[in-house]
Protein backbone atom coordinates (compact mmCIF):
# COMPACT_ATOMS: atom_id res chain seq x y z
CA UNK A 1 0.00 0.00 0.00
CA UNK A 2 2.96 2.25 0.38
CA UNK A 3 3.72 2.15 -3.27
CA UNK A 4 1.39 4.85 -4.51
CA UNK A 5 0.04 4.04 -7.90
CA UNK A 6 -2.66 5.10 -10.28
CA UNK A 7 -5.31 3.29 -8.38
CA UNK A 8 -4.79 5.35 -5.28
CA UNK A 9 -5.48 8.53 -7.14
CA UNK A 10 -8.39 7.04 -8.90
CA UNK A 11 -9.93 5.89 -5.65
CA UNK A 12 -9.43 9.29 -4.16
CA UNK A 13 -10.95 10.89 -7.20
CA UNK A 14 -13.86 8.54 -6.93
CA UNK A 15 -14.40 9.53 -3.33
CA UNK A 16 -14.33 13.19 -4.19
CA UNK A 17 -16.51 12.62 -7.18
CA UNK A 18 -19.11 10.85 -5.17
CA UNK A 19 -18.95 13.47 -2.49
CA UNK A 20 -19.56 16.02 -5.20
CA UNK A 21 -22.46 14.10 -6.58
CA UNK A 22 -23.93 13.74 -3.14
CA UNK A 23 -23.55 17.43 -2.56
CA UNK A 24 -25.28 18.23 -5.79
CA UNK A 25 -28.13 15.95 -4.88
CA UNK A 26 -28.53 16.83 -1.27
CA UNK A 27 -28.27 20.61 -1.29
CA UNK A 28 -31.14 22.87 -1.95
CA UNK A 29 -28.98 25.88 -1.89
CA UNK A 30 -27.83 26.75 -5.40
CA UNK A 31 -24.39 27.62 -4.18
CA UNK A 32 -24.14 24.26 -2.48
CA UNK A 33 -24.93 22.59 -5.74
CA UNK A 34 -22.29 24.69 -7.40
CA UNK A 35 -19.78 23.55 -4.83
CA UNK A 36 -20.68 19.98 -5.60
CA UNK A 37 -20.04 20.65 -9.22
CA UNK A 38 -16.68 22.06 -8.38
CA UNK A 39 -15.86 18.92 -6.44
CA UNK A 40 -16.83 16.75 -9.33
CA UNK A 41 -14.69 18.76 -11.68
CA UNK A 42 -11.80 18.49 -9.34
CA UNK A 43 -12.15 14.78 -9.12
CA UNK A 44 -12.10 14.61 -12.85
CA UNK A 45 -9.00 16.70 -13.00
CA UNK A 46 -7.24 14.44 -10.57
CA UNK A 47 -8.08 11.57 -12.81
CA UNK A 48 -6.76 13.35 -15.84
CA UNK A 49 -3.52 14.19 -14.27
CA UNK A 50 -3.05 10.81 -12.67
CA UNK A 51 -3.79 9.03 -15.92
CA UNK A 52 -1.43 11.39 -17.67
CA UNK A 53 1.32 10.51 -15.34
CA UNK A 54 0.86 6.79 -15.12
CA UNK A 55 -0.06 6.01 -18.70
CA UNK A 56 3.40 6.54 -19.97
CA UNK A 57 4.40 8.17 -23.21
CA UNK A 58 3.48 11.71 -24.05
CA UNK A 59 0.02 11.64 -22.65
CA UNK A 60 1.10 13.54 -19.60
CA UNK A 61 1.25 16.82 -21.39
CA UNK A 62 -2.13 16.30 -23.03
CA UNK A 63 -3.61 15.49 -19.68
CA UNK A 64 -2.25 18.61 -18.10
CA UNK A 65 -3.46 20.79 -20.92
CA UNK A 66 -6.92 19.32 -20.65
CA UNK A 67 -6.88 19.77 -16.92
CA UNK A 68 -5.91 23.34 -17.49
CA UNK A 69 -8.83 23.89 -19.75
CA UNK A 70 -11.12 22.25 -17.23
CA UNK A 71 -9.95 24.59 -14.57
CA UNK A 72 -10.54 27.56 -16.81
CA UNK A 73 -13.94 26.30 -17.75
CA UNK A 74 -14.75 25.68 -14.13
CA UNK A 75 -13.91 29.25 -13.37
CA UNK A 76 -16.02 30.48 -16.21
CA UNK A 77 -18.85 28.22 -15.17
CA UNK A 78 -18.63 29.46 -11.64
CA UNK A 79 -18.81 33.01 -12.85
CA UNK A 80 -21.86 32.37 -14.90
CA UNK A 81 -23.42 30.26 -12.20
CA UNK A 82 -22.97 32.92 -9.62
CA UNK A 83 -24.47 35.42 -11.97
CA UNK A 84 -27.44 33.14 -12.52
CA UNK A 85 -27.79 32.64 -8.84
CA UNK A 86 -27.99 36.33 -8.14
CA UNK A 87 -30.51 36.73 -10.88
CA UNK A 88 -32.47 33.80 -9.58
CA UNK A 89 -32.48 35.23 -6.17
CA UNK A 90 -33.61 38.47 -7.44
CA UNK A 91 -36.54 36.95 -9.25
CA UNK A 92 -37.67 34.41 -6.75
CA UNK A 93 -36.36 36.00 -3.65
CA UNK A 94 -34.82 32.74 -2.57
CA UNK A 95 -31.90 30.62 -3.49
CA UNK A 96 -33.81 27.35 -2.97
CA UNK A 97 -33.42 25.58 -6.27
CA UNK A 98 -36.47 23.46 -5.60
CA UNK A 99 -38.57 26.50 -6.12
CA UNK A 100 -37.28 26.97 -9.59
CA UNK A 101 -39.48 24.34 -11.11
CA UNK A 102 -41.40 26.61 -13.40
CA UNK A 103 -40.09 24.70 -16.40
CA UNK A 104 -41.22 21.36 -15.07
CA UNK A 105 -43.17 19.26 -17.58
Amino acid sequence: MLEIGLNHYLVLAAIIFCAGVFSMVSKRNAIGVLIGVELVLNAVNINFVAFGKYSGGNTSIDAQVIALFVIVLAAAEAAVAVAICTNYYRNLNTIDIDRGDAVSG
Binding site: I4, E38, I61, A76, A78, A79
Partner: protein, 221 residues
Protein backbone atom coordinates in the same frame (compact mmCIF):
# COMPACT_ATOMS: atom_id res chain seq x y z
CA UNK B 1 -38.76 38.16 3.09
CA UNK B 2 -37.37 40.14 5.93
CA UNK B 3 -36.53 43.82 5.93
CA UNK B 4 -33.18 45.12 5.00
CA UNK B 5 -31.97 45.73 8.55
CA UNK B 6 -32.80 42.28 9.53
CA UNK B 7 -30.60 40.95 6.83
CA UNK B 8 -27.68 42.99 8.00
CA UNK B 9 -27.92 41.82 11.54
CA UNK B 10 -27.93 38.24 10.39
CA UNK B 11 -24.89 38.88 8.27
CA UNK B 12 -22.76 40.23 11.01
CA UNK B 13 -21.69 37.10 12.90
CA UNK B 14 -20.54 35.49 9.72
CA UNK B 15 -18.52 38.39 8.54
CA UNK B 16 -15.40 37.43 10.36
CA UNK B 17 -15.49 33.98 8.97
CA UNK B 18 -15.86 35.23 5.47
CA UNK B 19 -13.00 37.65 5.82
CA UNK B 20 -10.81 34.91 7.18
CA UNK B 21 -11.61 32.78 4.22
CA UNK B 22 -10.79 35.52 1.79
CA UNK B 23 -7.49 36.21 3.46
CA UNK B 24 -6.58 32.56 3.47
CA UNK B 25 -7.31 32.42 -0.24
CA UNK B 26 -5.17 35.41 -0.90
CA UNK B 27 -2.34 33.88 1.07
CA UNK B 28 -2.55 30.63 -0.73
CA UNK B 29 -2.61 32.41 -4.00
CA UNK B 30 0.39 34.43 -3.05
CA UNK B 31 2.63 31.55 -2.06
CA UNK B 32 3.08 29.91 -5.45
CA UNK B 33 3.48 33.21 -7.07
CA UNK B 34 6.31 33.96 -4.67
CA UNK B 35 7.77 30.58 -5.32
CA UNK B 36 7.56 30.93 -9.06
CA UNK B 37 8.94 34.40 -9.00
CA UNK B 38 11.86 33.44 -6.81
CA UNK B 39 12.65 30.01 -8.16
CA UNK B 40 12.38 30.75 -11.84
CA UNK B 41 12.78 27.44 -13.44
CA UNK B 42 13.37 25.92 -10.04
CA UNK B 43 9.90 24.76 -10.03
CA UNK B 44 10.74 22.46 -12.79
CA UNK B 45 13.33 20.18 -11.37
CA UNK B 46 15.31 19.67 -8.26
CA UNK B 47 13.60 22.48 -6.38
CA UNK B 48 12.30 22.38 -2.89
CA UNK B 49 8.91 21.36 -3.74
CA UNK B 50 9.96 18.56 -5.92
CA UNK B 51 12.42 17.43 -3.41
CA UNK B 52 10.03 17.35 -0.55
CA UNK B 53 6.79 16.56 -2.26
CA UNK B 54 7.73 15.42 -5.72
CA UNK B 55 7.87 11.81 -4.94
CA UNK B 56 11.64 11.50 -5.25
CA UNK B 57 11.35 9.15 -2.39
CA UNK B 58 8.52 6.69 -2.35
CA UNK B 59 8.01 7.21 1.34
CA UNK B 60 7.54 10.90 0.79
CA UNK B 61 5.12 10.27 -1.93
CA UNK B 62 3.13 7.87 0.18
CA UNK B 63 3.07 10.15 3.18
CA UNK B 64 2.17 13.08 1.00
CA UNK B 65 -0.55 11.22 -0.74
CA UNK B 66 -2.13 9.88 2.39
CA UNK B 67 -1.87 13.19 4.15
CA UNK B 68 -3.24 15.41 1.44
CA UNK B 69 -5.33 12.84 -0.27
CA UNK B 70 -6.92 12.11 3.09
CA UNK B 71 -7.44 15.81 3.65
CA UNK B 72 -9.00 16.23 0.24
CA UNK B 73 -11.29 13.29 0.74
CA UNK B 74 -12.19 14.26 4.26
CA UNK B 75 -13.01 17.82 3.39
CA UNK B 76 -14.94 16.75 0.33
CA UNK B 77 -17.03 14.45 2.46
CA UNK B 78 -17.33 17.19 5.04
CA UNK B 79 -18.92 19.37 2.41
CA UNK B 80 -21.59 16.79 2.01
CA UNK B 81 -22.55 16.92 5.64
CA UNK B 82 -22.24 20.61 6.16
CA UNK B 83 -25.38 22.60 6.02
CA UNK B 84 -23.97 26.06 6.24
CA UNK B 85 -22.97 27.41 2.85
CA UNK B 86 -20.05 29.37 4.18
CA UNK B 87 -18.62 26.39 5.97
CA UNK B 88 -19.05 24.47 2.81
CA UNK B 89 -16.99 27.02 1.01
CA UNK B 90 -14.24 26.71 3.57
CA UNK B 91 -14.21 22.92 3.31
CA UNK B 92 -14.07 23.33 -0.41
CA UNK B 93 -11.09 25.53 0.00
CA UNK B 94 -9.38 22.78 1.96
CA UNK B 95 -10.19 20.29 -0.71
CA UNK B 96 -8.92 22.46 -3.49
CA UNK B 97 -5.74 23.12 -1.63
CA UNK B 98 -5.14 19.47 -0.93
CA UNK B 99 -5.79 18.63 -4.54
CA UNK B 100 -3.25 21.25 -5.55
CA UNK B 101 -0.70 19.51 -3.37
CA UNK B 102 -1.64 16.24 -5.00
CA UNK B 103 -0.88 17.82 -8.36
CA UNK B 104 2.49 18.52 -7.07
CA UNK B 105 2.85 14.95 -5.99
CA UNK B 106 1.90 13.98 -9.49
CA UNK B 107 4.68 16.23 -10.73
CA UNK B 108 2.18 18.52 -12.45
CA UNK B 109 3.60 21.52 -10.81
CA UNK B 110 2.18 24.09 -13.14
CA UNK B 111 -1.22 22.67 -12.75
CA UNK B 112 -0.95 22.72 -9.01
CA UNK B 113 -0.10 26.35 -9.13
CA UNK B 114 -2.95 27.12 -11.48
CA UNK B 115 -5.26 25.19 -9.24
CA UNK B 116 -4.45 27.36 -6.35
CA UNK B 117 -4.53 30.57 -8.31
CA UNK B 118 -7.66 30.04 -10.28
CA UNK B 119 -9.70 27.90 -7.99
CA UNK B 120 -8.75 29.03 -4.58
CA UNK B 121 -8.09 32.51 -5.61
CA UNK B 122 -10.78 33.06 -8.18
CA UNK B 123 -13.60 30.57 -8.15
CA UNK B 124 -13.85 30.29 -4.45
CA UNK B 125 -13.96 33.99 -3.94
CA UNK B 126 -16.57 34.18 -6.59
CA UNK B 127 -18.59 31.58 -4.75
CA UNK B 128 -18.36 33.41 -1.52
CA UNK B 129 -19.51 36.56 -3.17
CA UNK B 130 -22.33 34.63 -4.63
CA UNK B 131 -23.30 33.47 -1.18
CA UNK B 132 -23.26 36.89 0.15
CA UNK B 133 -25.27 38.28 -2.71
CA UNK B 134 -27.98 35.72 -2.68
CA UNK B 135 -28.64 35.03 0.91
CA UNK B 136 -30.56 36.92 3.44
CA UNK B 137 -28.66 34.89 5.93
CA UNK B 138 -25.57 33.02 4.82
CA UNK B 139 -26.33 30.26 7.26
CA UNK B 140 -29.83 29.91 6.02
CA UNK B 141 -30.57 26.26 5.45
CA UNK B 142 -32.98 24.45 3.28
CA UNK B 143 -33.46 20.96 4.49
CA UNK B 144 -33.71 18.28 1.89
CA UNK B 145 -36.32 15.62 2.65
CA UNK B 146 -35.08 12.48 4.31
CA UNK B 147 -36.07 10.45 1.32
CA UNK B 148 -34.10 12.78 -0.90
CA UNK B 149 -31.11 12.42 1.29
CA UNK B 150 -31.39 8.71 1.44
CA UNK B 151 -31.83 8.50 -2.31
CA UNK B 152 -28.79 10.70 -2.80
CA UNK B 153 -26.80 8.62 -0.40
CA UNK B 154 -27.77 5.40 -2.01
CA UNK B 155 -27.05 6.70 -5.46
CA UNK B 156 -23.70 8.09 -4.40
CA UNK B 157 -22.70 4.92 -2.71
CA UNK B 158 -23.81 2.91 -5.70
CA UNK B 159 -21.86 5.20 -7.91
CA UNK B 160 -18.90 4.90 -5.67
CA UNK B 161 -19.15 1.17 -5.68
CA UNK B 162 -19.40 1.19 -9.40
CA UNK B 163 -16.42 3.43 -9.75
CA UNK B 164 -14.45 1.35 -7.34
CA UNK B 165 -15.29 -1.68 -9.29
CA UNK B 166 -14.32 0.02 -12.44
CA UNK B 167 -11.11 1.37 -11.03
CA UNK B 168 -9.96 -1.67 -9.21
CA UNK B 169 -11.26 -4.17 -11.64
CA UNK B 170 -9.21 -2.77 -14.45
CA UNK B 171 -5.60 -3.36 -15.07
CA UNK B 172 -4.36 0.13 -15.83
CA UNK B 173 -0.74 -0.65 -16.02
CA UNK B 174 0.60 0.70 -19.28
CA UNK B 175 4.09 1.93 -18.72
CA UNK B 176 6.49 3.72 -16.42
CA UNK B 177 5.23 6.92 -14.79
CA UNK B 178 6.53 9.95 -16.61
CA UNK B 179 8.38 12.63 -14.89
CA UNK B 180 7.51 16.30 -14.62
CA UNK B 181 6.92 18.41 -17.64
CA UNK B 182 8.71 21.70 -18.05
CA UNK B 183 6.40 24.69 -18.10
CA UNK B 184 8.10 25.81 -21.28
CA UNK B 185 7.00 22.65 -23.02
CA UNK B 186 3.54 23.18 -21.73
CA UNK B 187 3.48 26.76 -22.89
CA UNK B 188 4.82 25.81 -26.26
CA UNK B 189 2.28 23.13 -26.69
CA UNK B 190 -0.53 25.38 -25.62
CA UNK B 191 0.37 27.83 -28.32
CA UNK B 192 1.08 25.25 -31.00
CA UNK B 193 -0.73 21.99 -30.68
CA UNK B 194 -3.58 23.33 -28.59
CA UNK B 195 -3.80 26.70 -30.18
CA UNK B 196 -7.34 26.40 -31.40
CA UNK B 197 -8.81 25.24 -28.10
CA UNK B 198 -6.76 27.83 -26.38
CA UNK B 199 -8.15 30.58 -28.53
CA UNK B 200 -11.64 29.18 -28.21
CA UNK B 201 -11.41 29.11 -24.52
CA UNK B 202 -10.10 32.62 -24.49
CA UNK B 203 -13.12 33.71 -26.42
CA UNK B 204 -15.26 31.76 -24.10
CA UNK B 205 -13.81 33.50 -21.12
CA UNK B 206 -14.56 36.79 -22.73
CA UNK B 207 -18.10 35.76 -23.45
CA UNK B 208 -18.52 34.50 -19.93
CA UNK B 209 -17.26 37.71 -18.53
CA UNK B 210 -19.68 39.76 -20.55
CA UNK B 211 -22.49 37.33 -20.00
CA UNK B 212 -21.98 37.16 -16.28
CA UNK B 213 -21.83 40.84 -16.03
CA UNK B 214 -25.01 41.11 -18.04
CA UNK B 215 -26.80 38.54 -15.96
CA UNK B 216 -25.74 40.01 -12.74
CA UNK B 217 -26.60 43.56 -13.50
CA UNK B 218 -28.93 45.18 -11.08
CA UNK B 219 -31.65 46.74 -13.15
CA UNK B 220 -34.55 44.84 -14.46
CA UNK B 221 -37.65 45.97 -16.14
Amino acid sequence: MGANGETVTVLKPQLKLILAAVIACMAMTAAPRVAMASGGGGLDEGGFVSDVLGGSHPLFEAVGFYLFGGLAAFSAIAICFTKDVVRMAIWLFATLGAVAILYFLLTAYFLGVIQIIVYAGGTLVLLIFGVMLTTKSPSMQFAVSKIGLAAGGVVSLLLFAALMGLVLGTDWQRGEPTGSIPVATLGRDLLTTYLVPFEVISVLLLVVMIGAAYLARQERE
